[in-house]
Symmetry: D3
Amino acid sequence: MSDRVQEFKEQRIAQNQIVLGRDNLNIKRFFGLDNAVYNDGALDSKTKEMLGLVASLVLRCDDCITYHVIRAAENKVTDEEFDEIMSIGMVVGGSITIPHVRRAATLWEEMK
Amino acid sequence: MSDRVQEFKEQRIAQNQIVLGRDNLNIKRFFGLDNAVYNDGALDSKTKEMLGLVASLVLRCDDCITYHVIRAAENKVTDEEFDEIMSIGMVVGGSITIPHVRRAATLWEEMK
Amino acid sequence: MSDRVQEFKEQRIAQNQIVLGRDNLNIKRFFGLDNAVYNDGALDSKTKEMLGLVASLVLRCDDCITYHVIRAAENKVTDEEFDEIMSIGMVVGGSITIPHVRRAATLWEEMK
Amino acid sequence: MSDRVQEFKEQRIAQNQIVLGRDNLNIKRFFGLDNAVYNDGALDSKTKEMLGLVASLVLRCDDCITYHVIRAAENKVTDEEFDEIMSIGMVVGGSITIPHVRRAATLWEEMK
Amino acid sequence: MSDRVQEFKEQRIAQNQIVLGRDNLNIKRFFGLDNAVYNDGALDSKTKEMLGLVASLVLRCDDCITYHVIRAAENKVTDEEFDEIMSIGMVVGGSITIPHVRRAATLWEEMK
Amino acid sequence: MSDRVQEFKEQRIAQNQIVLGRDNLNIKRFFGLDNAVYNDGALDSKTKEMLGLVASLVLRCDDCITYHVIRAAENKVTDEEFDEIMSIGMVVGGSITIPHVRRAATLWEEMK
């Protein structure tokens, strides 16, 4: 695992503990739901992670993209599949997604 | 085919003819690219249409959602798969996507 | 109640029934959460409806704005308070919010 | 002037009167500023209207696009210039702008 | 005051001086208006800061969130109120707001 | 050329090589199109760069803004023109663009 991925995961856990430690029920319910929608169902979790990745890309949320790039790799998304997800996000979301595609592709290569 | 789908398709074709009839090369190239990214490749076109649908939903583009809902049906997306796509888009994009989910689900039922 | 408000409420209920009738657990959980966050708590529901209204305005979601304008009136938001919410949304979100402010103010007057 | 343009202008004036008639100083100041930035200055008003049009397109605000398409025509933007503005907005903002490009081009042709 | 807050404030002042020193009248008017809408009026400034915070959160503007989190603390927003603002923003804006909620909650705790 | 501009350009080239080295045809086509729309045509490239800058500003894409600020300077945009572009973007896109205007103006001054 690259240092950047390790650091991202640790900060994410630490900050989630701060948010969830505040003990607001609705925030906890939202976090629970945010996990639940990516579980295997009619669509397998690999497909769902691809959906999460393209949604994050067109909304240009770098932390979300980083998370779903890592999850995509864990779910055995191939290089060609990754590029096709990027190409759809780029065409749907336009050239403003390019900086995010650059960072996503750089992370993807680093994780190999 | 429901009347609404028929009308949507006809207006889309008519307006595309206006845009493409203006003969701007870069606009034509973009339209070509917008078709190309959904073709079968490493990912099949069904998966790609699902990616296009969730991207359209989180960006709250009603015409795009209508188009991809129709394409999803043509690509044999099931009821359960449709709902899971909606649930991911709704969680990623928030309650502001709900009016679009309502319209998408209504169209989905109408098309049966 | 103005005809437009009546019609909006009826269509909203009808379409919600379509969505919820599809019986996807995560979608139902999201709908539940979407109600829960506006309940009285440390902040009263009037303040929460104002937060929902300004959030809907800057995200330019007409159906959400209509809903929260109606809820604001039900929670006794005054004319002056309504205008101040609009002014904050307009400054935060820019001139692209103006068409929505126009429609919101028109609805607000109609509901009197 | 096409009927649609006439109707758009009349509704815009009527709704602006509702908003401005509510007499909130900050809203009035924002409306004043929204006019002022398009006046001739270091950049002429034609160039400024083109900037307003592309900004409205990438933000996908149909009323704003309609307004700036009308203003572009009044400022003698040519067909070729119009298409190049559309092509930049489409590439920057992605395929989600296409429905707006369709409507803008249709209006542009109607106004001839 | 935490170091991070101090640094944020200093950089904000320094960069505002660069922008305002350029002496464009309309930019100055916008900055003036951006202050004016948060002043006490029919709604008190505490409520207005909460509106500014939720609007910044759903639009995912980190600098705006940081500014309004600081202002919320200065206006005696309580922990429970803060969490309820976050929960509304998170439900309206979706999981793409979570990275911003994480940073906002971390800053909120740091400022204690 | 300031250090920051130099560093930005180098990282942009390095990351573009990663993206384009992956050899996805549609991504390459999009990159080609993204260059083509800014070439001299009915509108000269200076005007087109101004359109790209205001579009990037209202969409709040920092990397895109940095790129178009550099390109604006290369195309002899004057100080007064730059400020008028910023003022239009700020009014269209609202106060959430202000952090980007601050960074753009700071970069503009640094490049002198």
